[in-house]
C-alpha cells in the first residue's frame, strides 16, 4: 500500500492508533463491567436462593440458551432474508420493492414483546416459538438492507458488466453482491445485536435464556440475580456487536 498516492486511499491505513483504540474499546468495557460485577458479588452475602442461581453451571446454561436462540435466529434470517432480497431484486419490479420496504418499516414499529407473546398465544410456548418470533422480527430489516444494497449499485457498473457479456447470475455474484455486501452485512449485524436483546423476552414463553434471571430477580426481589442477568445480556450484546464489526471490516471488499 506504500506506493499509493491518491488521497482517498490512505483512509484505511491512516489513523492506525485510532483504529486500534476502536478495536480494543468494546472488550475493555466488557472486561471492566465483568470485573466490577464480580468484585461486587464477592463483597456481599448471598442467600440460598441467590446461591442456587449465581453459580457457574446455572449461568453457563442460561448463556448457552440465550446464545443458541439469538444466533440461530440471526443465522436463519441470513439464510432466508438475503436470498429473498435477491429474488425480489431480480424481478425488477418497483411495486414489489416498494411494498416490501413499506412492510419492513411497519414491522420495525411493531413492539417485539407483542410479536413473541401473540405467537405463543395462537401457537404454543417454547424455544421454537421464540425462534420463529425472533426470525419474523429480524427478517424485514435484513431484507430491506439487501434490497437497498443491491439497488444502490451504480447502474453504469451493472451496464458495463452486462455489456462485457456477463450473464445475469454472473453480474449478481461477481458485481452486485460484493458491492452490496457492506450494506447487507450492516443489516445482519443490526439484526444479530437486536436478537440478543429481544431473546430476553423468551422467558415469558418458557424458552429460557438470560431473561429467566432478570424476571426471577425482579419477582423474588433478588437484585444480585437481576443485575448479573442484565450485565450478561449487555456484555454479550457488546461483544457480538464487536465481533460483527470486525467481520464487517474484514469482509468489506477492498477498493471501496
Amino acid at each position: 500500500m506504500s506506493t499509493l498516492t491518491s488521497p482517498d486511499v490512505g483512509r484505511r491505513t491512516t489513523g492506525r492508533r485510532g483504529a486500534v483504540a476502536r478495536v480494543l474499546a468494546a472488550p475493555l468495557v466488557v472486561a471492566v463491567l465483568g470485573l466490577v460485577t464480580l468484585l461486587w458479588l464477592q463483597s456481599i452475602e448471598l442467600d440460598s436462593i441467590e446461591k442456587r442461581t449465581l453459580n457457574t453451571d446455572y449461568l453457563v446454561d442460561r448463556v448457552r440458551e440465550h446464545l443458541l436462540l439469538s444466533l440461530s435466529a440471526a443465522a436463519l434470517v441470513a439464510l432466508l432474508a438475503i436470498p429473498a432480497g435477491v429474488l425480489i431484486h431480480r424481478t425488477n419490479s418497483r411495486v414489489l420493492r416498494g411494498v416490501v420496504l413499506a412492510l419492513a418499516n411497519i414491522g420495525q414499529a411493531t413492539p417485539a414483546v407483542g410479536v413473541v407473546i401473540l405467537l405463543a398465544i395462537v401457537w404454543r410456548t417454547g424455544f421454537t416459538t421464540a425462534l420463529v418470533a425472533l426470525v419474523a422480527y429480524s427478517f424485514l430489516p435484513v431484507l430491506r438492507n439487501t434490497l437497498t444494497g443491491l439497488a444502490e449499485v451504480d447502474p453504469a457498473t451493472r451496464e458495463a458488466a452486462r455489456g462485457m457479456g456477463m450473464t445475469r447470475t454472473q453480474v449478481l455474484r461477481r458485481i452486485e453482491l460484493p458491492l452490496a455486501s457492506p450494506v447487507i452485512l450492516a443489516g445482519l449485524r443490526t439484526s444479530l445485536v437486536f436478537a440478543v436483546g429481544v431473546a430476553t423476552i423468551a422467558t415469558f414463553i418458557n424458552a429460557g435464556g438470560l431473561g429467566d434471571m432478570i424476571v426471577n430477580g425482579l419477582k423474588l426481589q433478588r437484585y444480585p440475580v437481576l443485575i448479573v442477568g442484565a450485565a450478561l445480556v449487555a456484555g454479550i450484546a457488546i461483544l457480538i456487536d464487536w465481533v460483527a464489526g470486525l467481520v464487517e471490516e474484514y469482509a468489506r471488499p477492498r477498493g471501496l
Binding site: 499509493l4 486511499v9 452486462r162 462485457m164 457479456g165 456477463m166 454472473q170 458491492l179 477492498r254 477498493g255
Partner: protein
C-alpha cells in the same frame, strides 16, 4: 477450464488463434444496420427510426448529433443492450439477433462514458474480465493484461494492482479502453468515452486513441456530441438529427467542404475552412508557388504538419511564405497564403452546389 475463444463472427477464425496474442493483431468486420427502429415502451415517437447504414471492416465511424437525438440508443442496439423494435443488424454478415446476447457481447468491446470500472476489483482484474469469461488460461490472461496496460500507457508495475478509485479520470478511461480491448474484439462500441475528461486530457486521449486505432484497425462506432472530436478521429462521420435520422454520412473533409443541408452546416459551426485545413497535410498544397527565398530567412515547417499549422505559422510570423523542409533537411518547396487557399478550393469538389458550401470556403 472451458474451451478457448468461441468463433462467433465468420471471418474471425483467421485470427481466432490470436487469443492472448498481440494488441496489434487487428482487423475488423463489417457492421450493417438495416431499417432499424426503436420505440421505447409507452412512447409515441421512436427514439430511432428506420436507421440504415453499412460500416466497412476497420472503419472508425463517428455518430455525432445533439443530446437526445438517439446516438446512444442506435449504438446500444448493436450489442443488444437495447433490443430493436424492428429491423436487423448484422456483424460480419451474421444477424446479431440469432446469437446469444452474452456470447455476442464477449466479442464486442464496450466503453461507456461513465467508464463503469468495477470498483471492488483491481485494474488487472477489471481488464481480465472478458478473457476470464472466455475461459482463457491464467498465463494467457495475465500476459494479455500486462500487454494492454502497456498499450494504453499505464505502467503495469504501478497500476495493475490498484483499485479504480486510486486512478485519475484519464487513467480510468485508459483502463476502460484496455478492458474493452482485452479479448481483441473485432468491433468496438464507444459512447462518449472522453466526454467526462478535461480538455487537455481529452486531447491527449484522442491522440493516443488515433495511434492505437492505426495499429489495431477495429471496426468502431464512436458516439460523441462534439463535432471537432468527430472531425479529428473519424474515418467517416454520420451527422444525426432527431430520431437518429442521418443528415449526412461522409468523410470529415467532404462534410466540411460540402455540408448536405443547413442542419449539418449549423452543426459544423464557424471556422469550417480552418477545420478542413487541419485535415490536410502541407504536401497537399502546391509547393512550387512563389519563389525560393531571396536572402531573407523564412520560417521552416515539417512536411508532416497540416495546412492549418502552416497558416498558423504564417499569421504568427507575418512571413509571406514558409519553407517546407523534411527531417533530413531536404527542401521540398515553399508555401504561401495563395497556395493554401488554392488547396482548399481544389479539395471541395461540389463547391457552390449547396447553400452552405460557399460559406465553407469563405474566409
Amino acid at each position: 477450464m472451458p474451451k478457448p475463444t468461441t468463433i462467433i463472427f465468420p471471418s474471425m477464425d483467421v485470427r481466432g488463434a490470436a487469443s492472448g496474442g498481440s494488441a496489434t493483431s487487428g482487423g475488423g468486420v463489417s457492421i450493417e444496420l438495416d431499417s432499424v427502429t426503436k420505440t421505447y415502451p409507452g412512447q409515441d415517437v421512436s427514439a430511432v427510426e428506420d436507421f440504415s447504414m453499412r460500416i466497412e471492416p476497420g472503419e472508425l465511424v463517428m455518430f455525432v448529433g445533439p443530446s437526445g437525438c438517439g446516438k446512444t440508443t442506435t449504438m446500444k442496439m448493436v450489442n443488444r443492450i437495447i433490443e430493436p423494435t424492428s429491423g436487423s443488424i448484422r456483424i460480419d454478415g451474421q444477424d446479431v439477433l440469432s446469437l446469444s446476447p452474452d456470447q455476442l457481447r464477449r466479442h464486442i468491446g464496450y466503453v461507456i462514458q461513465q467508464i463503469g470500472l468495477f470498483p471492488h476489483m483491481t485494474i488487472a482484474d477489471n481488464i481480465a474480465t472478458v478473457p476470464r469469461l472466455l475461459g482463457w488460461s491464467k498465463k494467457e490472461t495475465s500476459a494479455r493484461v500486462e500487454e494492454l496496460l502497456d498499450t494504453v500507457q499505464l505502467d503495469p508495475a504501478v497500476f495493475a494492482d490498484r483499485y479504480p478509485r486510486q486512478l485519475s479520470g484519464g487513467q480510468q478511461q485508459r483502463a476502460g479502453v484496455a478492458r474493452a480491448l482485452a479479448a481483441d474484439p473485432p468491433v468496438m462500441l464507444m459512447d462518449e468515452p472522453f466526454g467526462a475528461t478535461d480538455p487537455i486530457t481529452r486531447e491527449k486521449l484522442q491522440a493516443e486513441f488515433l495511434r492505437l486505432q492505426a495499429d489495431i484497425g477495429k471496426t468502431i462506432i464512436f458516439v460523441t456530441h462534439d463535432f471537432d472530436e468527430a472531425v479529428r478521429l473519424g474515418d467517416r462521420i454520420a451527422v444525426l438529427s432527431e430520431r437518429s435520422q442521418i443528415e449526412q454520412f461522409d468523410t470529415p473533409a467532404a462534410i466540411l467542404a460540402a455540408p448536405a443541408n443547413d442542419y449539418v452546416a449549423s452543426f459544423i459551426g464557424s471556422g469550417a475552412a480552418l477545420k478542413r485545413l487541419s485535415l490536410m497535410p502541407v504536401t497537399s498544397a502546391d509547393l512550387s508557388f512563389g519563389a525560393p527565398a531571396s536572402g531573407g530567412k523564412r520560417p521552416q515547417l515539417d512536411p508532416t504538419a497540416t495546412l492549418r499549422d502552416a497558416l498558423d505559422l504564417l499569421v504568427v510570423t507575418g512571413a509571406e511564405a514558409l519553407e517546407i523542409v523534411d527531417a533530413d533537411g531536404t527542401r521540398l518547396g515553399c508555401l504561401t497564403h495563395a497556395a493554401i487557399s488554392a488547396a482548399l478550393t481544389q479539395s471541395s469538389p461540389t463547391r457552390g452546389a449547396g447553400p452552405a458550401a460557399g460559406e465553407g470556403v469563405h474566409r
